[in-house]
């Protein structure tokens, strides 16, 4: 910490210089760093969206805001946090963009602007200090998740532009090198500008379809975080967390959209279980999770969201049913007290809505809990052909066969699941189950109590 001797304790704009540590308060540097972090997390998306809407230059807006944050990091600890940190960031970033535009104009370079929908109105420049910035985030989210962009780019771009997640971190979350991710983001931004994907508000019908697409994109990123993939890391909880933040941002700007509320309810409820989902590098099944490690405040919030969902159609209804299933799990004080009948019913509705084989698989599990393993086993018929590469089909069959005392089927199914499973940790879990069955498999092995 540098000495502050000889400096007045109060600067002319009322801020306190760095290094002044009044009794019982945090050092100025720490306070400044915290403010930057908080403003960055809370306001990046809104600031960037407004800059994009004002200037119609994605590249310059992103660079300009990055530069403004860098300057804040340098100056605020030294000079004190400005009275209106968000306004300071906006003004500084906007000045950057204007400088770059001027340089381009002088050099005679004509860079293409973002297309805008007919009738689009540019938001006003923020006025009074302290006035809340216009919220253009929905339009930026719709840009990022446009169906003309490659799926693999959409959520990555949304994390970058809407949440401000650094590119290196996005690369880590999506298991690619920073160079690959940077190239992917650049290509996506070029396509938006070059192909003329427009900024602006779609008509009601189109908006519903586009929001469905956004929800799918976010849900895919979330499930990727909780899907044990190939490689040593079991889960990517951070990726799931970013997806929840994205859903929350979307819900902020599209509060009336049923699919968005259902998505947020679903993700909040599922994510609240994060700390209980793995232990000592192993997956912990829902039944075996230590429920005291669930985030109960988040569950309360998720349950409140889920309770407000009304029956809908299409993807909104799919998400609503899934949210209700998640709510049923979340409100059960113990695994044994889970409302399996209700869950099985919701899965049956979901299956008739989607015809999805994965839903059938989950329904089989629910039915085995509410109606016994034999009923569950019957629902697995025909899934092997449709989900030929999915290790969960034989894994579930093995589990149900074990409960029925059919150790032959259990053994064969565990082996098949082990062959198909790509995740190291999950495979170890399956091997352990197989070993249990084999060691218990005497000439007259009794079924599980």
């Amino acid at each position: 910490m540098t000495s502050t001797s000889g400096r007045s304790s109060t600067l002319r704009d009322g801020t306190v210089p760095a290094g002044t540590v009044p009794d019982g308060t945090v050092p100025r540097e720490v306070a400044a760093a915290r403010t930057i972090e908080a403003v960055y997390r809370a306001e990046w998306g809104r600031l960037l969206a407004l800059l994009v809407a004002r200037t119609r230059r994605l590249d310059l807006a992103e660079d300009g805001l990055g530069e403004a944050v860098a300057r804040a990091t340098e100056r605020w600890p030294r000079d004190g946090v400005p009275a209106n940190p968000v306004g300071w960031l906006y003004t500084t970033a906007h000045r950057q963009v204007v400088g770059r535009l001027r340089a381009e104009a002088i050099a005679g370079r004509k860079a293409p602007l973002l297309a805008v929908r007919p009738g689009w109105v540019r938001p006003a420049e923020p006025g009074e200090p302290g006035e809340r910035l216009a919220d253009e985030r929905l339009h930026v989210i719709l840009l990022c998740c446009h169906p003309a962009l490659p799926r693999e780019s959409r959520s990555a771009l949304a994390l970058r532009l809407v949440l401000g997640t650094p590119t290196e971190q996005i690369a880590r979350l999506f298991l690619v090198s920073p160079a690959t991710m940077a190239a992917r983001l650049t290509r996506a931004k070029r396509k938006i500008v070059g192909a003329g994907i427009p900024l602006g508000h779609p008509a009601e019908d189109e908006l519903r379809a586009r929001l469905d697409e956004v929800c799918r994109t976010i849900y895919l990123a979330f499930t990727a975080g909780y899907t044990p993939g190939a490689g040593p890391d079991l889960l990517r909880v951070d990726l799931a967390g970013e997806a929840v933040r994205l859903a929350a941002a979307l819900s902020d700007v599209a509060p009336d959209a049923g699919q968005v509320r259902a998505l947020l309810a679903l993700l909040v409820l599922q994510h609240a279980r994060r700390d209980a989902r793995q232990r000592d590098g192993c997956l912990v099944t829902l039944a075996e999770q230590d429920r005291s490690r669930w985030h109960h405040e988040e569950i309360e919030a998720g349950l409140a969201l889920a309770a407000g969902l009304r029956p809908a159609e299409g993807y909104a209804e799919e998400l609503r049913l899934q949210a209700r299933i998640a709510a049923e799990h979340a409100r059960a004080p113990t695994a044994a007290a889970t409302g399996w009948t209700s869950i099985a019913d919701r899965y049956a509705e979901l299956e008739s809505l989607t015809g999805s084989a994965i839903v059938r698989l989950n329904r089989a599990v629910a039915v085995s809990e509410s109606g016994g393993p034999a009923a569950g086993l019957a629902l697995l018929d025909g899934l092997d052909e449709v989900l030929a590469d999915n290790h969960r089909v034989p894994a579930v069959r093995a589990e149900l066969a074990r409960r029925l005392g059919d150790t032959g089927l259990a053994r064969a199914s565990y082996r098949r699941a082990i062959d198909l499973c790509a995740n190291d940790v999950e495979r170890a879990h399956l091997r352990a189950r197989l070993a249990e069955v084999e060691s218990a498999d005497g000439p007259a092995s009794p079924p599980d109590p």
Binding site: R102, L113, P198
Partner: protein, 133 residues
């Protein structure tokens, strides 16, 4: 203010983009020559409806549009090592089905996508035409 004026000026210059709308394949539609005269007429009516929809939309104009001869009429030129070879086309299997194109002025991609819903249910490739440098 100087910059705002510059931005406004740019807005004027970039109100529309040219889009090349390639009718790249028949999709689930049967080949044109297998359609009944009534079905062909219905197809033509959709093209006429597309013309009207474009004309009715501010900022949209059909710059040109043509139907193309099918893949059996294509000739492919390839130059390798400075040597041009001429072969029976098309250059790629996917190009066999190309039926024609529209060249449109339009404000943005979403407008083009929406208008294309009026056309027969072809497989369509939309490309922006690049500005001359």
């Amino acid at each position: 203010m100087l910059v705002s004026a510059a931005v406004a000026d740019r807005d004027q210059r970039s109100l529309t983009v040219k889009y090349f709308v390639l009718l790249a394949g028949q999709g689930e539609l049967p080949p044109w020559d297998q359609l009944t005269p009534e079905e062909q007429e219905a197809g033509m009516a959709r093209h006429a409806a597309f013309d009207e929809a474009c004309a009715a939309r501010p900022g949209v104009e059909i710059v040109s549009a043509e139907a193309l001869g099918d893949g059996t009429m294509a000739t492919t030129l390839r130059t390798r090592g400075g040597e041009m070879t001429i072969t029976d086309g098309p250059f790629a299997e996917a190009a066999e089905q190309i039926g024609g194109y529209y060249l449109l002025d339009a404000p943005d991609l979403d407008t083009v996508i929406e208008l294309c819903r009026v056309l027969p249910a072809y497989d369509i490739d939309i490309r922006p035409v690049l500005d001359a440098p």
